[in-house]
């Protein structure tokens, strides 16, 4: 891999409240990859993603996206540059309809035809959303909300998609569907994906590489297959 | 001065000044006689120059240009702080008290008058401090209790000739009851609704005072309220005299203020005070720890109201006259501002706040018109630059209600 990473964190530190701090995190993500970040509750996974999206100001280090330094820029400028996040808990706009939620995903875009096209694409990926399109986001089930959140993120035509716990609280069947779609948008659309998961097994199976976070530090990084085979990882995160 | 940060600062300044002119000029410059620029330009240029100077000074300070001044000053204030720390608190307290006692002997009538006002507001501020500073319940209708106290004494004095000293506890009780009546329905509300509802209650009290002609004589008010009386040794026998002179009023309110300070101080360090604090910091946690939050809040209201009522009774006696005019919303805002300016929950802070808001404007009497204008601006500025007040309370921790 000699190409330039699409995302690079150099010794990033940040804190979200008094707990959930990250210290000196470095990681690289190359175009076309699916990289998962696994770790226990409170290891700093979501903090990392919020720092990348510039929602959380970092206290040290540097973040590069597409070769340019992005830490310190206003968060709302990143989606138009192709960096998009589906945060933990999905954060659907509860009193906007499904259609409006999707439209908000394309807020910075002005090309009506393109937006229309992408919305149809999202409805193809998640047919249930088409049925529900006039319903308020808050009335959807957990799985439907996750689909809507991903659909909303896709509306911005991301190049790098950050997904925070997409499987949280969902039925296994839905989780499978979600992961199938993650693979599809990665392979068909060439979207680079950073996946944060507590369900390490699932995440690593879908990924090319993985990072293991523990109390705010990266303690291991490797090919996903190697991590899956690593006995320590199996013991700590895969429940064996 | 050409760093990007500095350029951004001055660009912001230019935009702000332009904006300010657009807001100022229509108010002053558009008249039926024609358009006029001179007045608004005059005011605008003064503000612009002042703002530029402040910005420039601030920028220099950021760069540490004033290090040669600020470092020695800091060192001096540090060592001063240490030196004052050596002297026990009671020495300071007795010095202040001695000063307060000697005050009328050293000053003029006019100063007495101002001092009485300050002390009345100290009592009010301390009372409101119980509600806002200690229990964290924002009350924008606090002056209603002051009004209840004042009218209680005025009516009892005029109709039944009851003595001030007897009426003082009655006024306190009535205010406490009013506090409970107002407090009860509002306690389940969340904080910012509480603010608007207490404001509404304050207005209701004022409107009722204004319109209940048969009881309160409406906007004309009640005349002929008696000053406090006492028995005093004169001409070889004990005689009843009225404490009607300014000096005597001063000592009465001083006594009242000292009692209030002691009461609030003791309250602050009691179990109830800690319960107030618990409710303020985290109501759910307080409830889980077995604090009956509803009762505690009601108690805070009632206690705060008592101090307001006592001050009100004194006010009626002092003015010998009460009318609804004295109990408007702006008075509530004033008392609240003292608490905020001084430092919520801090007794010396509130006293300082009362001094700053009542005595200081008297010094600048020529600018009477600008008083409330400046005061509103200062209130907003305080929130920006010194939200904990001039003399912050020691125990005030980080508010748990702060948004994350």
């Amino acid at each position: 891999m000699t190409q330039q990473p699409i995302l690079e964190l150099k010794n990033v530190s940040a804190a979200y409240g008094r707990i959930n701090a990250i210290k000196d995190i470095s990681l690289k993500v190359y175009p076309g990859e699916v990289v998962s970040i696994i770790g226990a509750n409170g290891a700093g996974k979501s903090t990392t993603l919020m720092s990348i999206s510039c929602v959380l100001p970092i206290t040290g280090g540097e973040i590069y996206y597409d070769g340019e330094r992005i830490d310190g820029t206003p968060a709302d400028l990143l989606p138009s540059r192709g960096l998009c996040q589906v945060p933990e808990g999905r954060r659907i706009f509860p009193r906007l309809t499904v259609e409006e939620n999707l439209d908000m995903g394309a807020f910075f875009r002005k090309d009506k035809a393109g937006i229309e096209h992408d919305m149809n694409r999202v409805f193809q990926l998640f047919p249930i959303l088409l049925e529900r399109r006039r319903q308020h986001g808050g009335t959807l089930s957990g799985g439907e909300q996750q689909m809507l959140a991903m659909g909303r993120a896709l509306m911005s035509r991301p190049r790098l998609l950050l997904l925070d716990e997409p499987s949280l609280g969902l039925a296994p069947l839905i989780v499978q569907q979600i992961f199938r779609i993650i693979r599809e948008i990665n392979e068909a659309d060439g979207v680079t994906v950073v996946l944060v998961e507590q369900n390490a097994n699932l995440a690593l199976q879908a990924s090319t590489r993985g990072y293991v976070l523990e109390t705010g530090n990266v303690i291991m990084e490797d090919e996903a297959k190697a991590l899956l085979a690593n006995p320590d990882i199996r013991k700590a995160y895969l429940g064996e | 001065m050409t760093t990007p940060a500095s350029r951004k600062l001055w660009l912001g300044y230019a935009v702000a000044m332009l904006w300010f002119f657009v807001l100022l000029w229509p108010l002053l410059g558009i008249t039926p006689e024609g358009l006029e620029f001179a007045t608004s330009f005059g005011i605008w240029s003064k503000v612009a120059v002042a703002a530029a100077i402040i910005l420039a000074l601030w920028q220099l300070k950021q760069r540490g240009v004033f290090g040669f001044v600020s470092r020695p000053v800091e060192a001096l204030s540090d060592s001063l702080g240490k030196a004052t720390g050596v002297v026990p608190t009671w020495v300071w307290l007795s010095l202040v008290l001695a000063g307060a006692l000697a005050f009328p002997l050293l000053t003029e009538r006019y100063a007495h008058d101002v001092a009485i006002s300050v002390l009345v507001y100290v009592c009010l501020g301390l009372g409101l401090n119980v509600v806002v500073g200690m229990a964290g319940l924002l009350d924008l209708g606090y002056i209603a209790f002051y009004g209840v106290g004042a009218y209680t004494y005025a009516l009892l004095s005029v109709h039944y000739g009851l003595s001030f000293w007897l009426c003082l506890p009655i006024a306190g009780t009535f205010s406490a009851i009013a506090g409970c009546i107002i407090g009860y329905p509002t306690l389940r509300m969340r904080g910012d609704y509480l603010a608007i509802v207490t404001l509404g209650f304050g207005e209701i009290v004022r409107i009722v005072l204004n319109n209940w002609m048969s009881l309160t004589n409406g906007p004309n008010g009640i005349l002929g309220v008696k000053p406090p009386g006492t028995y005093w040794w004169s001409d070889g026998k004990i005689d009843h005299i009225w404490l009607g002179s300014l000096e005597q009023f001063y000592y009465v309110i001083l006594a009242l203020a000292v009692c209030t300070v002691i009461a609030v101080y003791r309250l602050n360090n009691s179990r109830i005070g800690r319960a107030f604090e618990a409710v303020r910091e985290d109501q759910t946690a307080a409830e889980l720890m077995g604090v009956n939050t509803l009762r505690i809040k009601l108690l805070a209201y009632a206690l705060g109201a008592i101090f307001g009522g006592l001050a009100g009774a004194f006010f009626a006696a002092r003015m010998r006259f009460v009318s609804p005019e004295s109990f408007t919303f702006i008075e509530s805002a004033m008392v609240l501002a003292m608490v905020v300016l001084g430092g919520m929950g801090s007794i010396p802070g509130v006293i300082l706040g009362a001094l700053a808001l009542i005595a200081l404007p008297e010094v600048f009497r020529g600018f009477e018109l600008y008083r409330m204008f400046v005061f509103g601006g200062v209130m907003a500025l305080m929130m920006l630059f010194r939200p904990k007040g001039l003399w912050p309370a020691k125990r005030m921790g980080a508010r748990s209600e702060e948004r994350d």
Binding site: F107 | L27, E33, I207, M372, G376
Partner: protein, 311 residues
């Protein structure tokens, strides 16, 4: 029978008249209430300075209309030009207040912002007093005159103009908030600021815009109140401000439809209470309703649109 019939007829007339007055006043409250509800919906702040924006609107109206009249323009032009310019002025004023006194406090406790708002309210009110004087200032009298009678109730053309402008503004606002993209963004920001940043919405700008829109509506209300009663005063914003806030709470704070409905109800109640019960205590009724609503149905009649309800 005849006198009884006559009496009943008088009752009907009186009722109709109150109804007309109530609608007029209610519309005005609705316009002011919208500013409170939108701002509360988006940053959970009781914008105490909103009543002062309303008063500033009233003053801008009198200033601009007087000037335009003195230049010899016809009343229709005077009124519409003054309305538009004054609304723009108040929008700028409210945005300045927001930038100076609220935005730097975005991460402070709610109490701090509330006190800052209170300070701004006092500041603006006294600023108006200093620049415009302490006395009432009269609107030019010859703007809209006359009226007609329906079923015994007199409807003045002024009332028609007021209700007409109110309806126009309310419809416009509904279109803006519910049909346009910027309206969607406003609602999205009100519902989740972090998430709206993550989809690329600049929440500061949206908040600023919310203040501007609310201020423009309050300004229109201020002008109409000034024309209706014939004069303005520097402290005219306080009581209508509290009543309009009551209206917003009654409708369910954060809820735009609720604020319109609440405004209408509060206006009706005030007028009918003044007509049938006591005009001295008319202001008390609005406060009692506010307290009653908060006590018995804290989310208002339409339910509130606020997620974070902590202080």
């Amino acid at each position: 029978m005849a006198p009884a019939f006559h009496k009943a007829h008088k009752h009907v007339e009186f009722f109709l008249q109150q109804l007309v007055n109530g609608i007029t006043l209610g519309g005005v409250y609705a316009l002011v209430a919208l500013g409170y509800t939108m701002v509360y919906g988006i940053i959970q702040l009781i914008n105490f300075a909103h009543g002062e924006i309303f008063a500033a609107g009233g003053y801008m109206g009198v200033i601009l209309i007087s000037w335009l009249v003195s230049q010899g323009y016809p009343p229709f032009i005077c009124l519409s030009v003054a309305l538009v310019l004054a609304m723009g002025y108040c929008a700028l004023l409210a945005m300045a207040v927001e930038k100076l006194a609220y935005k730097p406090l975005r991460s402070s406790s709610r109490l701090s912002v509330l006190l800052s708002a209170l300070g701004m309210s006092i500041f603006l009110q006294n600023g108006l007093m200093l620049t415009q004087g302490v006395y009432d200032r009269a609107y030019p009298g010859e703007m809209v005159q006359g009226g007609f009678e329906i079923g015994g109730a007199v409807i003045s053309y002024m009332q028609i103009v007021i209700v007409g402008i109110t309806v126009l503004l309310l419809v416009g606002l509904n279109i803006l908030v519910f049909k346009t993209r910027i309206g969607k963004a406003m609602r999205a920001t009100a519902q989740d600021k972090t998430m709206s940043a993550l989809v690329g919405i600049n929440s500061s700008r949206i908040i600023s815009l919310t203040f501007a829109i609310g201020a423009a509506l309050a300004c229109a209300a201020g002008i109409m109140v000034g024309m209706y009663y014939g004069s303005v005063r520097y402290d005219m914003g306080f009581v209508p401000g509290v009543k309009a806030f009551s209206a917003a709470v009654l409708g369910g704070i954060g809820n735009i439809t609720g604020a319109m409905l609440g405004g209408l109800i509060i206006g009706m109640i005030e007028v009918f209470a003044a007509g049938y019960i006591s005009s001295e205590y008319k202001d008390v009724f609005a406060f009692i309703i506010l307290i009653g609503v908060l006590y018995f149905m804290p989310t208002g009649i339409m339910g509130e649109n606020v997620d974070d309800t902590r202080v």
